[in-house]
Symmetry: C2
Subunit: 416 residues, 2 copies
């Protein structure tokens, strides 16, 4: 690697770093959670702070411009500053946003989801993705009178303690009392868990396909979802689809439709309102009474602005057949990257759906080369993380794709 | 009660009711959580949906105008549509809101809180009030390696299962394994709980004064907080102040300062950004390492718009000495209501701080008269709930106060 070439050709992050030093004094870790830069390696190759964003691009505080394949970790499905969604939000907020009463737009949004999503007979709104997954679990417990939840090992459903890995700071043994983890695509393991806890399993929670961080993503095996639902029905267990991450990037009717199954509950968040804060749980009629029996609420759960934004976002996604277009853009981008890498003797592996693929370089000696590659891309204006699935939006243009290929080629050249 | 007079003089809710009937088909309970109209009695006396809001007033979908003493259950501390906060929000959102990187405004906001609040050495931001209380508990457990949480009976810290009352639908016995409830103002009970669980209590969580729903609110007894903190220090237990509801309506430095004590952690939400969705946890330096060790995150926790709104809101509250003004307005309003009621031979009881007082009519035979009174006020344009503390904002004008008195007098007349 020619360090001199890399250093002159690439971005510097002086202002980002200075801000991060200030942040460290008043914020734990400077930046926490999934935005914590400790995940971005090699150290020093990524910016920390954004100045502005538009379409599929953002500009950091040092003035560097990026084509963004993270889309704010999913929310920005129509791109930054989408005029249709922003206008709907602003128009509603000019009337009323957070108020003592809710707004009729809440009904419009619920009706739209129920009309569009075959599995949905009703909708419930909150703020975080974890609000939706926790709502789902509480409703399953209220409906069944049972305690246990079966989840996939390494499956992510938010940072509530029962969903976090055992041993994480602050998480108690007892937080996991009612959680049974089984491997992905393992029907016999599901059957064994259901048999071992007959009459005490309230729900099975899973994303429609398996998209953990740090490892290849996995599709359901042929017949998997059918076998799963045969077992769940036999044991009267509630099926929860966590579509927080994949929602509206595969199928507007629910990602489960693409994979050919019907859950009892579906959780949405991220892309539902193009960045405005709202999450949703939708469900089948037979769980509506239980959904009405539980008590769940939040200070801003009834704010009308994000509901208007969600309605406008969903209509725009549907009108433009966005999932099909985003899947197609993703395929073009990542097929292209695979071809370019091959020219440099590197094998890329792309897993998961093309609208949110997990990308890695196949190397015998671990992740270091892939981290260096993503870092060199980012330092040239192509923002790629090395540890998390990427996200494609409807705002990625042909010009963005061409520029993506150019930068990727340059980054590989710098590492040759 | 002269029903004819009441019916002709008061509002009708035909459009609200029609919308609610539509909502019931696609939303559990039509409206759920703390906005669920089942709390509003007598049935039929309250509107359900808001059309627009401005200052201290809102207009329902039937065109009825209200002076609002709920302030969206607390958030609207500067009034609806506050120009200073809305401009700060819009200016930030025009640049970047939800993005792949966070914004420098996050640092500005953390620094501002640390500067203003004596107990704060750092800040952590989320969306719901319950995110902040759950963060506090997790950090206390990470710091101490202990499990148990002591809380006040009937104290509300969000709708997470461990905080909900036992027996609520979906809540498990095991959700309460690590929660010990003691009465408010009961130092011996705290001492007994600490002694019974020596070495296993991570935190004590409480609002700065006791403000449950449905019953009179209670101030700390003389010396209460001092005795509490002597005990907590002796047992190395983390002190968590849940200032989600009272925050910035008593003292900008933290409501704890008004009551003369220093907690280790303070939770904020509601009024922090005049209705834009953000919550915050601030804490002492000795817990910063534990706060950095936990993993907590959410899809919209890094959105810059609400952070800019919070910064503008806090500056405006401080610049205008809003807590003092709101306390004074509250005192004027509720002293006035007490006087007016006395003229009709009714005794009102006002408890809690005047900026968010709990109001009831003292009656031997229960809450029915007070419910009728609040209903008759609301049906004349003075929005008062009968079961929850009310909220006063900085936008309540002298004209609003005078009109409040007129409507209250009319409502009492109608019930005579």
């Amino acid at each position: 690697m020619n360090n001199e070439l890399v250093n002159t050709a690439t971005f510097s992050y002086a202002k980002s770093q200075a801000l991060f030093d200030r942040a460290n004094k008043v914020i734990p870790n400077g930046i926490y959670g999934h935005f914590n830069p400790v995940s971005y390696k090699p150290a020093g190759t990524y910016p920390h702070y954004c100045e502005r964003a538009h379409g599929a691009r953002f500009w950091d505080v040092d003035g560097n411009e990026y084509i963004d394949y993270m889309c704010a970790y999913g929310p920005m499905i129509l791109g930054y500053g989408n005029a249709v969604v922003d206008e709907a939000f602003q128009k509603q907020v000019a009337l009323a946003d957070t108020c003592t009463l809710t707004s009729p737009v809440m009904i419009d949004l619920a009706e739209y989801l129920v009309e569009m999503i075959p599995a949905a007979d009703w909708a419930y709104f909150a703020k975080n993705g974890a609000d939706a997954t926790n709502l789902a679990v509480l409703i399953a417990r209220a409906a069944t009178g049972r305690s246990k939840i079966i989840a996939i090992s390494n499956g992510y459903h938010g940072s509530t303690p029962w969903m976090l890995a055992k041993g994480r700071a602050g998480v108690l043994e007892s937080d996991h009392t009612n959680v049974i983890r089984i491997p992905w695509n393992d029907v016999p393991a599901l059957e064994a868990a259901l048999d071992a806890h007959t009459g005490d399993v309230a729900a099975f929670i899973s994303s429609p396909y398996h998209h953990p961080a740090f490892v290849d993503n996995e599709m359901p095996a042929d017949g998997y979802w059918n076998s799963v639902h045969t077992l769940l029905k036999r044991h009267d267990v509630v099926s929860i689809c966590d579509d927080v991450r994949a929602g509206f990037r595969i199928d507007m009717r629910g990602s489960n439709e693409y994979f050919g199954y019907t859950p009892d509950l579906i959780c949405y968040c991220k892309a539902i309102a193009n960045g405005y804060p709202i999450s949703a749980l939708v469900g089948a009629d037979h769980l509506k009474e239980a959904a009405g029996a539980i008590f769940q609420t939040g200070s801003f759960w009834f704010s009308a602005g994000p509901m208007a934004a969600a309605l406008a976002c969903l209509k725009e996604l549907k009108r433009t057949d966005a999932p099909t277009r985003i899947l197609s853009t993703g395929k073009k981008v990542f097929d292209g990257l695979v071809d370019i890498a091959r020219g440099y003797g590197r094998e890329l592996k792309v897993t998961g759906m093309p609208s949110m693929p997990y990308l890695r370089t196949v190397e015998d000696d671990g992740i270091a080369f892939h981290q260096a590659l993503c870092g060199e891309c980012t330092r040239r204006g192509l923002f790629l993380t090395s540890h998390h699935n990427l996200f494609v939006s409807a705002a990625h243009t042909d010009e963005d794709v061409q520029r993506t290929f150019e930068i990727f080629d340059d980054a590989l050249k710098a590492l040759t």
